[in-house]
Symmetry: C2
Subunit: 133 residues, 2 copies
DNA sequence: GAAAAACTTTACGTTAACGTAAAGCAATAG
DNA sequence: CTATTGCTTTACGTTAACGTAAAGTTTTTC
């Protein structure tokens, strides 16, 4: 239980540099403890990093990712104002995701159409040696 | 027919600056003609811009967007080598999109769980005046 | 116990994607 | 006619997200 990780553990697992990991800490996205000088990363930090990578794959900035993290572990005893603010941010993020889904659908269709064209063109090429290179 | 656009037409429509539009031209993503000094944008440029914005919303770099554009209007008479290269790039882009879809699903679920928590917390707050602000 | 491996901080460098300011030409509005 | 509006080029500035190098500490290995 209570698994911990070194910085290079995480760097290996997520295929990023230790520089990036320290940078994320700098930006307040993860909060490792210390044993002497050395950073110790918790299960929680591990989860955070996974979240960060997901966000990056979607093209979110670190600031936006921080928004999502903040939402993710907001204090359960918030005021109604804070709660409504959060609901607004959630709404915005959700809308962005819906837009991304639509965008993906369009690009995907275009790629697949082009893929078909390519494959057809390949089939209609003389099949023996590489004639037109 | 043969509709054309001024740079500010496009800036307005896509809600970007003229600086950005010129920058995209600089990067070879669009190719307006000229009337004297002034840039004239074609229907084709318009389509390109739409594609660029879509790519940006998905977090693609301009270089990646250029890849997709190149795929989109590749010469129909390519060699088998070129065709296979294109098929490979298409495959990669498609895989990235699939990953994005998975990422969206996860984040979406997290957002909706949190949304529920927020709404529940709101309902359980005394409904009269703003007590905890 | 000495060298190598893994960690640390500090700090300047880099790239993408523009922002912004300066200075000039061209059309058109008053 | 001149003043505003819209376009242009040139070029330096800026921000995010790290890369990279230097110089030091600590831990592990032989």
């Amino acid at each position: 239980m209570d698994q911990t990780f070194s910085i290079s553990d995480l760097a290996r697992e997520f295929d990023i540099t230790t520089r990036s990991i320290r940078f994320y800490e700098d930006q307040g996205l993860i909060e490792p403890t210390r044993r002497g000088q050395t950073r110790i990363y918790s299960r929680r930090d591990h989860v955070r990093l996974k979240l960060i990578m997901r966000g990056k794959r979607l093209g979110f900035s670190l600031a936006e990712i921080r928004d999502i993290i903040d939402i993710y572990d907001a204090s359960p005893s918030s005021s109604s104002i804070q709660l409504n603010q959060m609901l607004n941010i959630i709404k915005q993020k959700k809308q962005a995701l819906e837009q991304q889904i639509r965008d993906i659908a369009v690009i995907r269709l275009e790629l697949e159409t082009t893929e078909e064209r390519c494959m057809k063109a390949l089939r209609e090429l003389p099949s023996d040696s590489a004639e037109n290179d």
